[in-house]
């Protein structure tokens, strides 16, 4: 299922490491960049490029929370739920997001537009509360400012 391009990028990673296994996380991210998530069928193919079994690849994939082993929407919202943001209104932001999108954490909107996930401290405590949409940082959030942010993503 992997495209020639995905394969090329993954093989290109190998030069950085003594052991091909070390490229597994980045290889999974290559797959994810191309198809938003890592489907089951990708596991054996990634594994074959690195000399690993599909199970071994999945063992690593499921360790890291930013490797998505389930489909996600076109845009992924990662809301910081750690302490500094929590103190400055995380709960309001989370509630507002859930209401606006009509979904809970771990879910995707029916139009496949957004997936909502929590994430730990973004190193943006000076702009708490904060979130990432497609890894773009939004800080000093208020429920009112959410709409503007969401509006950037079709």
């Amino acid at each position: 299922m992997l495209t020639a391009e995905e394969r090329d990028v993954i093989t290109g990673l190998l030069g950085h490491y003594t052991d091909p296994r070390a490229a597994v996380v980045e290889a999974l991210k290559v797959v994810q960049e191309h198809r938003r998530w890592v489907p089951d069928e990708a596991l054996p193919e990634v594994g074959a490029l690195l000399g690993l079994s599909a199970h071994d690849v999945d063992a690593v994939a499921t360790f890291y929370n930013l490797i998505f082993r389930q489909p996600v929407g076109r845009h992924v919202i990662l809301v910081c739920d750690s302490v500094s943001c929590w103190m400055l209104g995380y709960e309001d932001i989370a509630t507002a997001l859930k209401r606006r999108l009509g979904i809970g954490f771990g879910e995707t909107t029916p139009d496949d537009r957004f997936t909502l996930l929590p994430i730990c401290c973004l190193g943006a405590c000076d702009k708490a509360p904060a979130m990432l949409i497609d890894f773009e940082l939004y800080g000093d959030l208020t429920p009112e400012r959410l709409d503007a942010a969401l509006g950037h993503y079709a």
Binding site: D19, D40, A54, D56, A59, T62, F63
Partner: protein, 920 residues
């Protein structure tokens, strides 16, 4: 030795160990989960916490893990300190948070390490009042059940399966309290060592599905010490039984052989002994051409006795799956000159050659333990992963010596498992594989080579020549010569080199070349060892009994006309010869007698008398493994129906026929002694196990644990009285719970099960070893029959002549056009073996049948193209007029120009392999 202090008392201990191991060896009850003697320490579960004190004045101490603490001089720990006890109790409390507490319906209940440790740590009262996390279970195939909610995340399963056994399809997934152990998706566990999960898992996550089918608690099962009958390694097992059926096989620790682990063929191959269609009463064909009908034991003894009364007209076929004693009985009954081996002559001769190389040469034979200790290994010709799986597991460990060397240098103790693996990264001791097709050790091998047996033999000769230039040279391609030189170099550089070979290639040239390499090495390094895998569990034992030849000779003799009776004992002639030829040869034989625990097609078709013979579960016997080690197996149950050991049938018949040879054969010991009295290789055989009259503290040994229940209830439909346990004349074991069972003091050869107060699981083993991972208390339980001759010259052989093909003796290569494919449609056939499918007894077990894949002829892709065949297309082999049609499968590693034939399958057994074969 170092002095360490435990709870204030000094002890002298081995400083290369960790404090958990030391404490257990000294008899302390210190709970643990993640540590395992064969896997080492990783410090994950935190269950073995103890107080650690800086010096004699430190009374407060700090908590630390015993398993991660070296037993260095002056180490002071407190097992009984308040803090340590409280912490250990808390660890159980944590582990129990999400545990389902389903002990009443859990297969592990009653022999659960988690139960034991919970009691030991003193956790009883549940304080957690929130929800439990739950998991989805997986279907892992016919062997192993999966119930993830019981998991306590000790990580042992994945450490064993992946790191120790090299499995690729079991792992740890996710993180935090969601960690999950299983496969990425449902599916059959691929590793042939998956069954060990049931033992290595300290609770009921991974369980033995074959036990689960008719589940019984450990305390309700009879148990007996046994020896695996599914290959020539002779791994030690416990057989468990209830209501007359074998319920499971467990590993029985033997320091020198299987250690802690069995293969799945050995563990799940027992089902043949439970088959409904197995003969339990004698069947006699009273009228020529008529149907056989049941007969009484006395009646058939009379018939057989009459036939045996004239031994000159009788031939017997002994078997490598029958005990030494039964083979001896048959040999006695028919006379050595009419005693044949029920194996092809080529196999018989090859086994004889191997035994000759073992006792006629200077190189000692390695046990499995010694194979594991080897630090450079060449495997020549034998696909050990399929013919002797447990050996493959040992060889997989042998490559770790390089890692230990790195660890020693880095100051990482060898028991610190992850530390060693991380420090050593990919450091591996050399393992070179030269086999007909790529096997399961490829991933850890330094190099591998695939070829026809002749090519492998020439490679072997090239290795020998590279070790000792005085040995004959072999014509091999340059690349192969380079590999031979590298191999020789690695073997010469090793402290304990090992050469492994065996009968799997059915090639004299291969085993002789292997012996030549071992001999050449041995001249340079006296620590060199060799190891030959043999075809079956008792191939070596059978070979120690003089015979008139193999099955071809037997059939020729039968055909010659002066034979009125043929006795086939525990063998299926259809598996070793062409059924049509068999029938033709026996056409004038008046009495064909079959003794077998299996219902064979041959017996149904041709036997005039079928005698139900005992299986390993029903009667005791002695078998001799590949290294010439004689071992005793005991019955776990009284034989069902009229079943008895083959030798007893023969004894009874001989007595009825007025022959006196068997007069003294009352018990198994009588035959063993008679054999031992023959001297030679059999000297000392009587020491294989304590005699039947041996007593322990004046009493026999029980087969059932103390808590065995329901014996009366079992028979309640017949009588309210508790029936007496049937006698077992062959061992000091009783078929009941009466007797004396003193943990740690039962002679290992008789140890029926593992149990110790507070230790209901197999982990009780720790208490039975003098040193953990060392021999059991009470010492060795076997007799090594074949000793090398230190003064014998090292064997020399000539390489097989170069094959037709490129004139310079190089191997043809389809890539460069030097392999045009066989021009005349004649293809050499190479035997290939399958762990599930190639061995007779296990293929009669339902669990193994469920795990077998139907045989395919293996064809190299270049040849398939040449033949215009796609995978799955049928191909017909024609040999000596016999035809065999099977679908093909492509194999990159099967040598070009040959066809790999999976041997021993119900579909392929008996089809000739050795010799030239034509295919179309």
């Amino acid at each position: 030795m170092a002095t360490v202090f435990i709870d204030g008392k000094p002890y002298e201990v081995d400083p290369s160990r960790n404090m958990l191991q030391v404490a257990l060896e000294l008899g302390f009850d210190l709970p643990y989960f993640c540590w395992h003697p064969a896997l080492g320490s990783v410090g994950a579960c935190r269950q073995c916490a103890v107080s650690q004190y800086k010096d004699a004045d430190d009374t407060a101490g700090k908590l630390g893990m015993a398993c991660m603490t070296a037993a260095g001089e002056g180490t002071r720990i407190g097992i009984e300190s308040e803090e340590a006890r409280e912490f250990r109790k808390s660890v159980i409390e944590w582990l129990m948070i999400a545990h389902p507490h389903d002990c009443p319906v859990c297969e592990e209940g009653g022999e659960c390490h988690l139960q034991d440790m919970t009691v030991m740590a003193g956790h009883a009262y549940r304080r957690y009042r929130y929800g439990k996390r739950t998991h989805r279970n997986q279907d892992l195939g016919p062997f192993i059940g999966h119930e993830m909610n019981r998991c306590i995340a000790c990580y042992r399963c994945v450490r064993f399966y992946k790191e120790y056994a090299g499995g690729r399809d079991l792992d740890a997934f996710a993180t935090a309290r969601d960690v999950y152990f299983g496969r990425s998706a449902d599916g059959v566990l691929e590793s042939p060592f998956s069954g060990n999960l049931a033992e290595i898992c300290p609770t009921g996550v991974f369980t033995d599905k074959t036990l689960g089918e008719a589940y019984t608690r450990k305390w309700d099962m009879a148990s007996a010490p046994s020896v695996c009958g599914h290959c020539s390694l002779g791994c030690n097992t416990f057989v468990n039984e209830r209501y007359g059926a074998v319920r499971r096989i467990l590993n029985r620790y033997n320091h020198a052989i299987n250690g802690y682990f069995l293969c799945d063929r050995g563990r799940f191959g027992y089902g043949f002994a439970n088959r409904e269609d197995r003969p339990t009463t004698p069947l006699l064909r009273r009228v020529r051409g008529g149907a056989p009908s049941p007969a009484s034991a006395t009646e058939v003894a009379g018939y057989l006795g009459t036939w045996l009364a004239e031994p000159s007209g009788v031939i017997g076929l002994g078997s490598p799956r029958a005990s030494l004693e039964s083979n001896f009985a048959l040999q006695t009954a028919v006379g050595a000159e009419r005693f044949y081996h029920a194996v092809p002559e080529a196999e018989r001769a090859l086994v004889a050659t191997v035994l000759g190389l073992m006792r006629g040469g200077p190189v000692p034979t390695a046990s499995l333990r010694e194979a594991e200790d080897a630090d450079a290994v060449l495997v020549l010709g034998e696909d050990v992963g399929n013919t002797a799986p447990r050996l493959a597991l040992s060889l997989r460990q042998s490559v770790r010596h390089a890692a230990w060397r790195v660890a020693d240098k880095a100051g990482v103790p060898r028991w610190q498992d992850n530390g060693v693996r991380e420090a050593a990264h990919l450091a591996r001791s050399p393992l070179v594989l030269a086999t007909p097709e790529a096997g399961d050790l490829e991933d850890v091998a330094l190099a591998s080579l695939c070829g026809t047996p002749d090519r492998l033999a020439r490679f072997g000769c090239a290795v020998a020549h590279a070790i000792d230039g005085g040995l004959p040279e072999a014509a091999v391609p340059d690349a192969v010569r380079t590999l031979a030189a590298r191999t020789a170099e690695a073997l010469l550089a090793a402290d304990r080199p090992l050469v492994v070979s065996g009968t799997g290639c059915l090639s004299e040239a291969v085993v002789r070349a292997a012996a030549m390499i071992a001999g050449a090495l041995h001249r340079r390094n006296a620590a060199t060892k060799q190891l030959f895998v043999l075809p079956q569990a008792n191939s070596a034992g059978l070979a120690l009994l003089e015979s008139a030849g193999g099955v071809e000779a037997a059939l020729a003799r039968a055909r010659a006309g002066d034979i009125h009776t043929v006795v086939v004992m525990e063998a299926d002639p259809d598996r070793v010869a062409d059924p049509a030829a068999v029938d033709e040869a026996l056409s004038d034989v008046r009495h064909v007698v079959v003794l077998d625990p299996l219902p064979t097609g041959f017996a149904a078709r041709r036997a005039d008398l079928v005698l139900p013979a005992a299986s390993f579960a029903d009667a005791a016997g002695t078998v001799v493994n590949h290294e010439g080690r004689a071992q005793r197996f005991a019955a776990v149950r009284p034989p069902p129906g009229d079943v008895q050991a083959s030798w007893r049938w023969l004894r009874d018949a001989l007595a009825r026929g007025g022959r006196s040879e068997a007069a003294g054969w009352q018990r198994l010991d009588d035959l063993t002694l008679a054999l031992a009295a023959r001297g030679g290789d059999l000297t000392g055989l009587e020491h294989v196990a304590p005699p039947a009259e041996a007593r322990h503290a004046g009493r026999p040994l029980p087969r059932e644990p103390h808590r065995a229940s329901g014996r009366t209830a079992v028979h309640a439909g017949k009588t309210m009285f508790e029936p007496a346990a049937p006698p077992d004349p062959d061992t000091p074991l009783r078929h009941s719970m009466e007797g004396h069972y003193a943990p740690g003091r039962v002679p290992p050869a008789l140890l029926p099960f593992l149990w110790q107060p507070g230790w209901d699981s197999e982990q009780a083993l720790n208490k039975f070893q003098a040193e953990i991972t060392g021999p059991l208390k009470g010492g060795d339980r076997s007799v090594r029959l074949l000793a090398p001759d230190p003064d014998a010259p090292a064997p020399i052989c000539d390489p097989p002549p170069p094959e037709p093909g490129p004139a310079d003796g190089t191997w043809p290569d389809p890539a460069d056009g030097s392999w045009p494919g066989p021009a005349d449609g004649t293809w050499p056939v190479v035997p290939v073996w399958r762990v599930f499918g190639s061995e007779e007894l296990s293929t009669a077990a339902p669990a193994i049948r469920a795990r077998m894949t139907p045989p395919h002829l293996l064809v190299h892709p270049a040849d398939a193209e040449h033949l215009g065949l796609r995978p799955g297309a049928p191909l017909t082999l024609t040999v000596e007029g016999r035809r065999l049609t099977l679908p093909i499968a492509l194999s990159e590693t099967i040598p070009e120009g040959t066809i790999g034939l999976p041997a021993g399958f119900p579909e392929t057994a008996g089809f000739p392999i050795a010799g030239a074969t034509t295919a179309r």
